[in-house]
Subunit: 190 residues, 2 copies
């Protein structure tokens, strides 16, 4: 993906992805998007119907990117705990937060079913994928039989999303790391 060969349309989507991540939907203006993309208003309104339409394309791309990188992490390790750990401990720009989860706090995203749908689908997929890995661990005796895969998976995803909140509140990565460590310790010793 070379910036020089990206079409104006793709540049606009990429810039919107960045700005939604950084400032959310409410805090992102079409003007800021255009400036970052190096495109004018005419270009933007030619390719997209407006702010919401462009945001939809960017959110879908953010969701697809997250899914791809999560899938890559799950492929690492052999045991269930190793694969879960690989996902939880993978490199992240913690203080930047999650590009998808971040949008769940935005009132105009949540109020718009079309804009919210990619968030719901992404987290449903992630929780399901993690639950599968945990279920494998239960099936082969690595994890206890009374562990609820779905509830545990949801708790682990929540630890991640909440870890971002605590890290940004404190201005450091420390609470994020501690939350992950605490959650993994609870899981591993069961």
């Amino acid at each position: 993906m070379y910036a020089e060969v990206m079409s104006a349309r793709d540049q606009l989507i990429a810039s919107t992805q960045d700005l939604l991540w950084e400032r959310g939907y409410v805090g992102t203006s079409p003007k800021a998007i255009q400036q970052r993309a190096g495109a004018g208003q005419g270009s933007m309104y030619h390719h997209f119907a407006g702010k919401a339409d462009l945001a939809l394309a960017a959110i879908r791309q953010n969701a697809a990117d997250l899914r791809a990188s999560a899938e890559a992490a799950f492929a690492q390790g052999t045991t269930a705990v190793e694969r879960v750990s690989a996902y939880l401990l993978r490199e992240r720009d913690v203080l930047r937060g999650c590009p998808v989860g971040r949008l769940a706090l935005d009132p105009e995203i949540v109020a718009n079913p079309e804009l919210r749908a990619p968030l719901e689908e992404t987290f449903d997929w992630l929780r399901g994928r993690l639950a599968e890995v945990l279920a494998e661990g239960i099936a082969n005796g690595e994890l206890p039989a009374d562990l609820d895969p779905a509830a545990t998976a949801t708790a682990l995803v929540a630890v991640l999303q909440g870890g971002y909140v605590l890290a940004r509140s404190s201005g450091t990565v420390e609470p994020f790391d501690q939350a992950i460590r605490g959650a993994l310790a609870l899981l591993e010793r069961r």
Copy 2:
């Protein structure tokens, strides 16, 4: 606290608390605050230096309110697990999210040390308070000796904050409840 006897100043703070919770700092305009408070611009700029000054008063009040209601929950129950559960399971307006954690995703809050400070203090206090309760449980043999109280406490606070994110993404309370259930199951069976 009767609305009829609240001063214009207190009305402005209360309205700002609501709007920050709902729309964040970036998404909240002085005009909206004034309208909700039933106060004019003159009144607002008489009592506060500007948007940031008013937001600081509202954020501090949000933090104080959260702390008070958390302390009330911790007072319930006798065993450590009961007290932790009482806090995690207390009634919440889940789809509204956390009035304090919500602000951690706002770029202008995080960029302003004065506005971020109440967030950091609130979560430091909450993690410490939870860690104390867990440490008591370890001391009296209710919880295993190898449990790290601080890391576990941070993980539990993260589950809450992340639960809000998942609930708002899905449009239902279900993922929040499931995350809490999953986390408590991991803690109780250790």
